[in-house]
């Protein structure tokens, strides 16, 4: 499903040598994998996810999603591809503050081209039930706890029934208990919906949730890969 071929991303900073955020990374992820990417802050994890999603243009190498090179597509098709295929969970609060929970979850459905309002609404309500927020449809994001907000983000990520879920440190703002709850929820969704997941975390504690773990350091993937015991 995902294929990276010698991908590099160089950020040029004024008057200084460029920062090589990701350097010569090759990676294959198959359908149905739950890949955990670990690494210290600044090791290039976010950049790697952005490259996969077409949110950042690689300075070198190729990024292929289902054998299609993302950056060869025009902007509107890139956008559609993200809209249809990829669900995002961000590290920072990413709900639109002026929209309520239900509207936030529905947001990706109005950005794409396939619009069936009724079924989108039904799916959103069902997803919000699944993440345990059935009673918060009309709440505004600021009325929710950090954990609840992240659950809404998960529902939003899944609303267009994506094949791939990209999660960038989804639990870094949460306490331990909430973190476990959110991770369990993600794992549940992974098993139930049969999607491929790439999850970034800066601690090794979460790698047991995945089916494979990758460690990054200084923009590169560290070999040999970490061995993971699959828990399910």
């Amino acid at each position: 499903m995902i294929e990276l071929k010698n991908v590099s991303k160089l950020y040029s900073v004024k008057n200084r040598p460029g920062v090589s955020a990701v350097h010569d990374v090759s990676l294959n992820v198959a359908n149905g994998e739950f890949v955990i990417i670990t690494g210290r802050s600044g090791s290039g994890k976010t950049t790697l996810l952005n490259l996969i999603a077409g949110l950042a243009r690689p300075t070198a190498g190729q990024v292929l999603l289902d054998d299609v090179e993302v950056w060869k597509l025009p902007d509107d098709q890139q956008a559609l591809m993200r809209n249809h295929k990829i669900g995002f969970i961000f590290q920072f609060p990413s709900l639109i503050p002026s929209l309520n929970v239900l509207e936030n979850v529905l947001l990706p459905t109005i950005l794409g081209d396939k619009q069936d309002k009724d079924s989108a609404h039904d799916r959103a309500v069902k997803l919000l039930e699944e993440v345990g927020l059935a009673d918060k449809l009309d709440s505004l994001p600021r009325q929710l706890s950090a954990g609840q907000q992240q659950r809404v983000v998960i529902a939003r990520a899944l609303i267009n029934q994506p094949e791939l879920l990209l999660a960038d440190e989804p639990t870094s703002n949460l306490d331990e208990q909430t973190e476990a709850e959110v991770m369990t929820l993600l794992k549940e969704m992974f098993s139930k919906k049969g999607i491929t997941v790439l999850l970034v975390t800066h601690t090794d504690e979460l790698i047991h949730y995945g089916t494979r773990a990758i460690r990054m350091a200084s923009g590169a993937i560290v070999n040999p890969p970490v061995q993971v015991q699959v828990t399910t």
Binding site: N50, A56, A79, R82, P108, I110, L111, R156
Partner: protein
């Protein structure tokens, strides 16, 4: 949940800044629409006054030119007279075909006879007149007699009365003039004999005496021979007759037109300044708004918004604010100009006609276009910058 809702929510969210943008659009629209209303109305007023004059040359006492023009335009009273025999002298000038004198009398405030707050009185000679007659709606076969008058379209006999009462004097309204859209509409015309009679009787019947100078006229209306050159005749009049000025109707309202030109130029300059300042302010505010939503815009792109969709939502926000602001500005301008009409006329010293319904539609349209032309270019720059940016960069703090 749809696109419109997202736009409206965003407007609400940055309420204060939305207000500023709206006010900028309103200010520009208000100023330009108000200036247009006054300047166009004034131009129209002058061109109508000139067109309805019907004289090729007007002879007035030396130094009374501007006063006379004001009398024609605004009904302002003139206190310069010339001897009545000037009429005969003018008639004898070569190339003059017809002459008829007029005496601009006084302005009546709060008269019961009129649909307007002020009424003007003019004495004329119906037998020789050629400027008022063409506007008369009724044919008066026996001519105007003592105590009779014709009035502009706003002049009427109050209901319940048979006659009009001025200065304690009762006047029979024999006819009305066609609507001209000028001060003629609120002017009453009667004979010199009637004027003398009102003046004489006002001593006994009125609270205030109406004084008129004996054997005087304010102006002599001149019709020239169509084959003769008006300019030459005017020069001939001033060189032959002492202490008079001959105003060619084509030169009429010269000083007013100059003043209007000045007002026009000042308005254009001021509008330009307001416009540019508004644009700068909107650019600044929109940049702040966009910058604040930088991360959110990155998120939208990640969720599948095209560049164009992002730009569209921001521009839609700007357009909504421009239209609302423009609407408010136009509304206030229309209201203000009609409410403070008298004050504006006094301020600029020029009359202006109320716009026709058709020109109001045009003005509303122009005002809205202008509001859009203020907000959209200003919003465009920050909008394009943020929508062209790589989403990954937008999401970085």
């Amino acid at each position: 949940m749809n696109f419109t809702r997202l736009v409206l929510r965003n407007i609400e969210r940055s309420a204060f800044r939305s207000w500023i943008i709206l006010m900028c659009a309103a200010l520009v629209a208000f100023f330009v629409v108000a200036a247009t209303l006054v300047i166009n109305g004034s131009r129209e007023s002058m061109s109508r006054a000139r067109a309805r004059l019907g004289a090729d040359i007007i002879v007035v006492p030396d130094g009374a030119r501007e006063g006379m023009e004001n009398a024609f335009l605004m009904g302002a009273p003139v206190s310069l007279w010339m001897p009545a025999y000037v009429t005969i002298e003018v008639a004898e000038i070569e190339g003059v075909e017809a002459v008829s004198p007029q005496l601009f009398l006084f302005t009546l405030a709060g008269a019961t006879c009129c649909a307007v707050p002020e009424m003007f009185m003019v004495a004329y000679v119906p037998e020789t007149d050629f400027t008022i007659k063409p506007w008369l709606l009724q044919h008066i076969p026996d001519g105007l007699k003592l105590g009779e008058a014709v009035g502009g379209s706003y002049v009427f006999v109050p209901t319940g009365y048979a006659k009009i009462l001025i200065y304690g004097y009762t006047i029979d309204l024999r006819g009305n003039l066609d609507s001209t859209g000028t001060n003629i509409d609120q002017t009453m015309f009667f004979t010199f004999e009637t004027a003398d009679d009102i003046s004489r009787l006002s001593e006994f019947q009125a609270e205030k005496i109406m004084e008129i100078p004996p054997d005087s006229v304010s102006a002599v209306m001149v019709k020239t021979n169509p084959n003769a050159d008006t300019h030459t005749i005017a020069q001939r009049i001033t060189s032959t007759i002492p202490d008079v000025d001959a105003v060619e109707s084509s030169n009429l309202f010269q000083s007013q037109r100059t003043r209007l030109d000045g007002i026009f130029k000042a308005s254009v300059a001021l509008s330009g300044i307001i416009w540019i300042l508004s644009i700068l302010l909107i650019v600044l505010i929109f940049s702040i708004v966009v910058n604040e939503r930088r991360r959110e815009i990155g998120v939208l792109r990640a969720l599948g918004a095209r560049r164009w969709t992002v730009a569209q939502s921001l521009l839609a926000e700007a357009i909504v604010l421009a239209l609302f602001g423009g609407g408010v500005g136009i509304g206030l301008a229309l209201l203000g100009v009609s409410l403070f009409r008298e004050a504006i006329i006094n301020l600029i010293g020029l009359p202006f006609l109320a716009p026709t319904p058709m020109s109001i539609v045009t003005i509303i349209f122009e005002g809205l276009v202008l509001a859009l032309l203020t907000v959209i270019p200003a919003a465009l720059l920050p909008t394009l910058r943020i929508s062209m940016i790589e989403p990954a960069l937008a999401m970085r703090k």
